[in-house]
Structures are given as structure tokens and as C-alpha cells.
């Protein structure tokens, strides 16, 4: 069961929700649609569910027109952001709903429905809550009922709209792992929408990063994190330091640091560079180009410590992450001077108008492998 989305456009009165979106969804994969609010990810999900239609573009399922089928024919399970449980029905009736509304020829017998609902209740660990109403359940329980209800129709595709959005942090992490296990067990094609990059990277096989109705990049979490395709992806995923690199005579440089190379061979005079906090190397020997920095603050956040480093030559503050246990090993204390250089960076050249040229991206690595 392959879904091919091509050139989807959807315009609402004030804004373009989808702008020429093309995407393939492979059978059995766990795909995350990741983006800030208003990026079009929910619109995309609703189009797959049959609750909305694109103005132009097509969706093919195994080569057949998917948009021509109605919501009820699509065999989709969907978990809504606020779960949308039927408030007048018990947990049991909620889960059985999708089976009970089937035309009688396709409807399983009462016994079969009962048996399947009970199996699902067990699976979502709510067997002793069958007679409760949604208002009597906690957020995490409601979420599981919503999931069981979606699974009861034995869907081909499972769609989840911000499935963990309304839960508190602890429940969220538990449910996340549980959902991932469930996915592996059932082998269902799953598409989920989230604005939480950590969630997307942890759960999904592939992540589609969306912004302003466009798909900025599609790839494995590793690729999205290590090789971001656009400045937006760099800034949206994880934490990142941004600074400008300029051509000074023949070499590109930023402050005291230089990449010592130029893949663009002098075509551009300026580029924007992104360096992740864990990619900053501290205490660089004077033989190598680096920034002279002053350590302003140390924020200890459990296993990781965030360092706030002021780079005089860039007139900018950068953030570096080190393992907490390294703080004393390196003798770090606020106010100290330190030479700092990136171990790796992602650079996008800028043209004369200051617009970044995304397809000329350069992923730079320090030449010699540097000990941490």
C-alpha cells in the first residue's frame, strides 16, 4: 500500500496551507509531518483522511485515485488532536463505533465485535474501564481509547494529529515508546503530525519537515539532524548557533575561524553557517584557527551542561554543550578565556540580495579528526 502525493495545493482565505507538496509514503513506514503551527501539516493529514480536499494535485493509493474515495471508503484510522471521543458513549461503545456503523453486509456479528473490542481494550490496558465515559478518564487514557477506536476498523493507514500534544511530559514519553512498539507489532503505515521535533526524531522512520505549506526536507531523523537541507530545517530542528562567514580576500572566514576551503570557488562572498552546540570544540590548540571566547555562564541541565560563550571577533554569543562530568575535568568556570572552534558546520551561500542558495549547501567537517 503506497501513497503518492503529488503537487498538492490548498488555499484558505488568508493563506496558502499547502504549496506544491509532493511526498511518497511507503507501506509500513512511520512518517512524521513536522513543522510549526500553520505550516500545513494538519491540512495534509486532513486531506489524507478525506476531511479536506486539495485545490489541485493528486493522491494515488497503489496507483488509484485516492481523492475520489470518500472518508468512509478509505479505511483509515485517525486519532484527533483532542481525541474527539464520543462523549455520550462508553469506552466500549466508542471503540465499537467503527464496526457498528458498517453496512450490515460488511458488519461483523455482535460476538465478533465484542471479542475484537475486548482484545483492543486489553491491548491499550483499559479492560477495567470499558463502562466508563470519556469524561471519567485521564488524558492518557482518553488518548489510548482514541487509538483503540481507530485500530478497531483494522485500517490500512493510521493518522495521528498531535497525538501527545495535550499530555504532560511523563505520560508523553511513556506513550511515545508504547506507540512505537505498537507500530512495530502491527506493521501499519502510520503518519503523525507534530510540532515537537524531539518527538518526530525519536519516533519516526522518516520525517517530513514542513514550513509555510512547503515540504522543506524529507529524510531519516539522522539525515534531518546531521544534513539539514535548508536554513529553516537547521533552525527548527534542535538547537543551533548561527553566524555569518565572509570572503576575506581569497579565504572564507568568520572572526578568527576559517573553514580553510571554498567549494563555491569564490562565487559567493557571504554564507550563513550553522553549528550545533555539541559540535563546538573547546580548548583548541593555538596552532589551529579558532575563536577567542570568554565563558559567560554555565547552565547545568542534568547530564548536559550548556555553556554560554561570547565571541569577541563575531560580537556574538554561542552555545556549546558538554557532558556535565567534563566540567571539572576541563576546569571550566565562568569568566575564563577559551579557544573554541566548530568540529562541523552546515553552510548556505548567500547571493548579492542576501537570499540563501539552498541547493549549494555545504556540509563542512574539520579536516583532521579532533579528539573531543
Amino acid at each position: 500500500m503506497t501513497l503518492e502525493l503529488s503537487h498538492l495545493n490548498r488555499r484558505f482565505a488568508e493563506y496558502q496551507a499547502l504549496d506544491d507538496v509532493s511526498l511518497d509514503i511507503a507501506p509500513g513506514e512511520f512518517l512524521a509531518l513536522l513543522g510549526p503551527s500553520g505550516s500545513g501539516k494538519t491540512t495534509l493529514l486532513r486531506i489524507l483522511a478525506g476531511l479536506d480536499y486539495p485545490d489541485t494535485g493528486s493522491v494515488l493509493k497503489d496507483g488509484k485515485d485516492f481523492l475520489a474515495t470518500t472518508a468512509r471508503e478509505r479505511n483509515i484510522g485517525m486519532v484527533f488532536q483532542h481525541y474527539a471521543l464520543f462523549r455520550h458513549l462508553t469506552v466500549l461503545e466508542n471503540i465499537a463505533f467503527g464496526l457498528r456503523v458498517r453496512p450490515w453486509r460488511k458488519r461483523p456479528s455482535r460476538a465478533v465485535i465484542r471479542e475484537r473490542v475486548e482484545r483492543l481494550l486489553k491491548r491499550v490496558q483499559l479492560d477495567d474501564h470499558a463502562r466508563r465515559y470519556p469524561s471519567q478518564l485521564s488524558g492518557g487514557q482518553r488518548q489510548r481509547v482514541a487509538l483503540a477506536r481507530a485500530l478497531a476498523v483494522e485500517p490500512d493507514i493510521l493518522l495521528l494529529d498531535e497525538p501527545f500534544g495535550a499530555l504532560d511530559a511523563q505520560v508523553r514519553v511513556t506513550l511515545r515508546r508504547w506507540l512505537r512498539e505498537l507500530h512495530e507489532e502491527l506493521g501499519l503505515t502510520t503518519v503523525f503530525v507534530t510540532h515537537d521535533q524531539e518527538e518526530a526524531l525519536e519516533l519516526a522512520d522518516r520525517v517530513a519537515v514542513m514550513n509555510n505549506g512547503r515540504v522543506e526536507q524529507v529524510g531519516s531523523p539522522e539525515v534531518i539532524y546531521q544534513q539539514p537541507a535548508t536554513p529553516f530545517v537547521c533552525e527548527f530542528i534542535g538547537k543551533v548557533n548561527r553566524f555569518t562567514v565572509r570572503r576575506n580576500g581569497s579565504a572564507l572566514a568568520a572572526g578568527g575561524w576559517m573553514p580553510q576551503d571554498d567549494p563555491w570557488q569564490g562565487k559567493y562572498t557571504e554564507a550563513v553557517a550553522y553549528v550545533r552546540p555539541e559540535q563546538l570544540r573547546l580548548a583548541v590548540p593555538t596552532s589551529q584557527p579558532a575563536w577567542e571566547t570568554r565563558l559567560r555562564h554555565i547552565y547545568l541541565a542534568g547530564s548536559v551542561a550548556h555553556l554560554e560563550l561570547h565571541v569577541g571577533s563575531l560580537d556574538q554569543t554561542l552555545e556549546a554543550d558538554v557532558a556535565s562530568e567534563d566540567l571539572s575535568r576541563l576546569g571550566l568556570h565562568p569568566g575564563m578565556e577559551m579557544r573554541v572552534a566548530p568540529r562541523g558546520a552546515v553552510l548556505f551561500p548567500r547571493n548579492d540580495q542576501g537570499v540563501t542558495i539552498n541547493h549549494e549547501r555545504w556540509i563542512w567537517h574539520a579536516r583532521s579528526p579532533v579528539p573531543a
Partner: protein, 287 residues
């Protein structure tokens, strides 16, 4: 318990203030609501039970009761269908002129009932726009039952829709969308999800609509023509008897109307009491 706490914390002057306010409210209710209502029954039974029963057993009274029930039986279901459809359109779709539709639904509230009646006379009366055509086809609207039904529908049109719109607005369409995705047809979605979610508001609307349909005087008076035994509803019968100095008769019929109002109130209270938890659970936010 709360009273106990309050009495401990409130100072004397404030307590006197509380009591005075309560007494005032009670006196006001007595003077303007309970006393008139009691008068209706007192007047009706002034000469005893036998004249009372005789008064409501007269054929005119019986026909008035029958006609009132008939008009309500036609107007209320029609307004239920309209009210649900209008509330659905108002809360589930975005369209041009939505504000206008909202204003139109409220129109019968803001227009004097007499004018509502006159409008139908102007439209369907013998000198009205469609009058000659209707005459030619021997269809009677004004001074006949259809006119009474039309005027009543007009007057009671906002009740159901106005009860439903705020509730459906607050509930949103997510549950309906969930039903669609789960494979429900349009009708299944409506009867299994929408209707159960709005049933209490709908029932309130029906009760209010019914009370008004049976009690309406102004609009109905204009289109009725006051033909005894044919086009007089209960409120009109009350007025006619009163004008004829038949006080017992007038108040006897009036007492039936009052009884109806009390019954409506009782049913409403009973529902709130019996299903209070459920109503609260279905209220927006009580998810």
C-alpha cells in the same frame, strides 16, 4: 455548610442586607408572578368545580383546545427540523451571508407579533399578493387553519435554533469528523453523534417552542378572523370569553394554558434534576 461559613464571616449589617435583598426578591416574585397565576385558578374555580368543568366542556372550548394542539403539532416539528438545519449550517459551514442568516433567525424575536400576523394577511389575504390566485384555486390561508400554522411557525422559529447554535458552536465538529473517518454515513453521523450530543438543548428548545406555539396571541389573532369553533385557539378563546363577561369560562380556559406552562416548567426542572450530571457532562468544557 456554606451558609454556616458565611454567617460566621459576614458582619451584622451585611447579613441584614442579605435578608433584605432576599425578602425584596421574594415579594417581587409573589406580586408579579405567583399572585397573578393564583388569580387565574381562583377565578376559574370561583363558582366551584361543576361550572369550571362545564366551561371547558363546551364545544367551543374543545375545538379551541383541539386547534391549539393541532397548530402546535404542525409548527413544533417543522421548527425542530428547521432549527437543527439552521444551527447545523450556522456552526458547521463558512458561507457568505452567515451573519444575515443569524439576524433573520432572530427577526421574529424583534418584530411585534401583530406585525408578523399582518405580514401574512398582506401576502395571503384576499387583497394580498397571492390572494387572488389562492381565491381562484379555492385555497383558504387567512382566517383558516393554514394561516394560524404559518403565523405560529413564524413566531416560534428562533427557539430551537437559538438553543442549539451556541452549544454546537462550543462542541465543534471534531466528533462528527471522527465518525466520518470511522466510516459512518451522513445519517449515521447525525443520529449517532450529533443528535445525542445536542439532545438536551434540543429538548429545551422544543419545550420553549411548544409553550410559545400554544400561548401565542398577537400574530394568531390577526390571521384568525375569530370564527368561533373553527379558527379560535385557546388564547383567543380566553379573550373572547372575557370580552363577553364570561369570567369563569375565560379563566377556566386560561387555567388550562397556565397548567400547560407549569407542566412545561416541571418537565424542564425534572430533566435538569434527573439528568443534571449528564447535562453537565455534555456541556462544553465538561469533556
Amino acid at each position: 455548610m456554606s451558609r454556616h461559613v458565611r454567617s460566621r464571616t459576614a458582619s451584622w449589617p451585611r447579613r441584614i442586607g442579605h435578608v433584605a435583598l432576599l425578602l425584596f426578591a421574594l415579594a417581587f416574585l409573589l406580586a408579579f408572578l405567583v399572585a397573578p397565576l393564583a388569580t387565574v385558578f381562583a377565578e376559574a374555580f370561583r363558582e366551584g368545580l361543576a361550572p369550571y368543568l362545564a366551561a371547558i366542556r363546551q364545544p367551543e372550548a374543545r375545538s379551541a383546545i383541539g386547534l391549539t394542539l393541532l397548530v402546535a403539532a404542525i409548527a413544533v416539528p417543522l421548527n425542530v427540523v428547521f432549527g437543527v438545519a439552521a444551527a447545523w449550517a450556522m456552526t458547521r459551514f463558512e458561507f457568505r451571508g452567515k451573519t444575515l442568516l443569524g439576524a433573520l433567525i432572530d427577526l421574529p424575536f424583534s418584530v411585534s407579533p401583530v406585525i408578523s400576523g399582518l405580514v401574512y394577511v398582506l401576502l395571503f389575504g384576499s387583497h394580498g399578493w397571492f390572494g387572488p390566485w389562492l381565491d381562484a384555486h379555492d385555497v383558504k390561508v387567512i382566517y383558516a387553519v393554514p394561516g394560524l400554522v404559518l403565523a405560529t411557525i413564524f413566531i416560534t422559529l428562533p427557539f430551537v435554533a437559538r438553543e442549539l447554535i451556541p452549544l454546537m458552536e462550543a462542541q465543534g465538529s471534531e466528533e462528527e469528523e471522527a465518525a466520518r473517518v470511522l466510516g459512518a454515513s451522513g445519517w449515521q453521523m447525525f443520529f449517532r453523534v450529533t443528535l445525542p450530543n445536542i439532545r438536551w438543548a434540543l429538548l429545551y428548545g422544543v419545550l420553549l417552542c411548544n409553550a410559545r406555539a400554544m400561548g401565542e396571541f398577537g400574530a394568531v389573532s390577526v390571521v384568525s378572523g375569530h370564527i368561533r369553533g373553527l379558527t379560535t385557539t385557546m388564547p383567543l378563546e380566553v379573550e373572547m370569553r372575557y370580552n363577553e363577561y364570561d369570567y369563569v369560562g375565560a379563566f377556566a380556559v386560561a387555567s388550562l394554558l397556565a397548567l400547560l406552562a407549569l407542566l412545561t416548567l416541571a418537565v424542564k426542572t425534572l430533566l435538569e434534576w434527573r439528568y443534571g450530571d449528564e447535562i453537565a457532562a455534555h456541556a462544553p468544557g465538561g469533556h
